[in-house]
Structure formats: structure tokens, C-alpha cells
Symmetry: C2
């Protein structure tokens, strides 16, 4: 990487910086991101993890993408299953988000058994969260490995719409609602 | 695409739906997304456009991805220039966002000349918005065409941090702040 000048390691307003991993994370933390639980079921197992790196890809045909770390058990299962669901979390789903982020050390079966969540299936069989603000049930149409992550391109096979609620957001390393 | 049942075309809470383009957009509109202006300069020209389809890709090395429509003049210029900047907009940048979304019919030079924006360059020469909440100055390391869109994988060469402000968000087809 190139830099035009020597830069401090801390985040200083108005200063370009040499992009260390920590500096990059500090700037990325300024971006409010909606919180999702990515789920899958099939030969690779029933899995789920919390993720913010998701966005719309094309609307004709409907498709989204998610970025997942190569070392994750959930990523490997999703690639084997060839399908996933993106569940956009509603405000109030903080505990569910933490559980699927692995912060409580729960096994997959325990995560899906939590009492504050109800799961259904649509087309692919991937677990769809009934109380999400919206879910995309998808087949993985292609994937690309970039560094430590896989970009999964996902064709949307079915939609689910939950109750009208605010969204669960992650911003400056804290949960927020919008 | 498969569907498990015949579904209404309107968005109905709790119902899986056949994913038409309109239905997909309705569900995606429920996802609050941070608003960015993607810029570039080089042999392909000085260009910029508003986009929400951006997310973190890897943090080691720092990289982000953006999804851009193949038919966009800005997309073609970025691919030719091989570099871009992602400028995350602050609350209050609604007019700038609209201008770079093409809603005012302004030429590129007019967009960059708007009085409420000040542009600098860091490493690549792509225009960096001084009053963004944060900007990533990037080289395009690889790109993948998926349907109508390109996924651009972008290696972050330099960071910029603007003033501490709320973010400009787009949610349910309206601007919001967080």
C-alpha cells in the first residue's frame, strides 16, 4: 500500500491515514449497518451467524450478496448446502444477534431453540425468522473468494415480510434502532 | 425461480411471496442503508454517483466492495480508471446525494462544483469529500459481472475521516439520519 505522507495511527479528523487494520475498522465503524442473521440448512448442517456485510446486487432477477469469512463453520456449511436465508433483524433482537454472533457460546441447535425466535421455511429449507423485518430465501448462484472472505451471490427464490418495526443497526460498535 | 404457493403481488406481512422485481424492492426498502458517493478520476474521466450497495469485504488487508450497474457511465469510467473513492455521507448531505444520483440533471463538472462540497485527493487521485463521515480511497483489485451489475472489490490505499456527525441513511425510500 502507498501513502502520501506519514500518518498517525489514531483516527484524526481531516487526516489521511496509512490504512492499518485498526484504522480501517475505526472508519468502517462510522458506517451504520443493518444487522442480519444468515442461516442455512442441508447436507452441511443447520447453521446461522450474525452478519452486517450484505447488500442488494441486482433486482432483475432479484439477488443479494453477503460476505462471509472463509474460516467460519457457517460459511463452509452454506457452500455445501448451496442455499441460505438472509434475515434482517428488527429492533429488540439484540439477544438473538448476540447468540448468533457466538457471544454466548451456544451450539447451533441451542441458537435455533432460543425462545424469543420462531423459525419457518419457505422454498430452499433455510431457516427464516418469522419476526424479521424481512427475509430473503436464496440459492447461492456463484461465489468468489477474495482474500479471507467469500462473496456469495444469492438468487432470491422467496421473500418473507415480518411485522412493521424499526431495524436493528450496528454503529460505532453499539446496537441502535432506526 | 420456484415458489411453493401462489402469492399476492402486494407485500403482505407473514406471507412468502413470488419474488417479482417490485416485491423484492419493497422488502429491500425495509433495510436502512448508509448513503455513499462513489467517485473516480483518471483516463476514463472524473465521475461520481450515489450508491448504497457497499459493504466491508476484508479487514486484512483493508478492502470494501461496491455494486454498480453495468449501464452507468460512472461504472465504465471507474473500470477504466482502476480506482475509486467511497465517501460515506453525513446527515445534511441530502442535496449532494440527490445531485450525484442524477436527480437534478447536472453534468459531472457541475456536480463536483456544487458549493456545499469540498473535494480533496489522497493517494489514487479519486475525489474525496472533505465533509464525509469517512472515505475510503481505493484501487479496484478485481471485479465480477453478475447479471446487470459489477461487483468491484476495492483495496483501501488511504482513509479520510471527516467531522463527527450523524450518517445520511436511505430507508423506506426516504432520507433519514442516524
Amino acid at each position: 500500500m502507498m501513502t502520501t505522507q506519514t500518518c498517525p495511527s489514531a483516527v484524526v479528523p481531516g487526516m489521511p491515514m496509512q490504512p492499518s487494520q485498526g484504522d480501517f475498522r475505526s472508519v468502517m465503524a462510522r458506517l451504520p449497518a443493518a444487522v442480519n442473521i444468515i442461516t442455512s440448512d442441508g447436507p452441511g448442517g443447520k447453521v446461522g451467524m450474525t452478519a452486517t456485510a450484505m447488500c442488494s446486487l441486482t433486482d432483475s432477477p432479484p439477488s443479494v450478496l453477503v460476505c462471509l469469512h472463509e474460516a467460519s463453520r457457517t460459511t463452509r456449511a452454506i457452500l455445501q448446502n448451496g442455499q441460505l436465508a438472509v434475515n434482517m433483524l428488527a429492533a429488540g433482537s439484540e439477544a438473538l444477534s448476540a447468540a448468533f454472533a457466538g457471544q454466548q457460546g451456544l451450539e447451533m441447535a441451542q441458537r435455533f431453540g432460543l425462545s424469543d425466535a420462531s423459525w419457518i421455511t419457505l422454498v430452499t429449507g433455510s431457516p427464516v425468522l418469522e419476526n424479521s423485518i424481512g427475509s430473503f430465501d436464496c440459492t447461492v448462484s456463484e461465489h468468489h473468494k477474495v482474500g479471507t472472505h467469500f462473496i456469495l451471490c444469492c438468487a432470491v427464490e422467496a421473500l418473507h415480510v415480518g411485522p412493521e418495526k424499526e431495524s436493528l443497526m450496528y454503529h460505532q460498535r453499539q446496537y441502535r434502532h432506526l
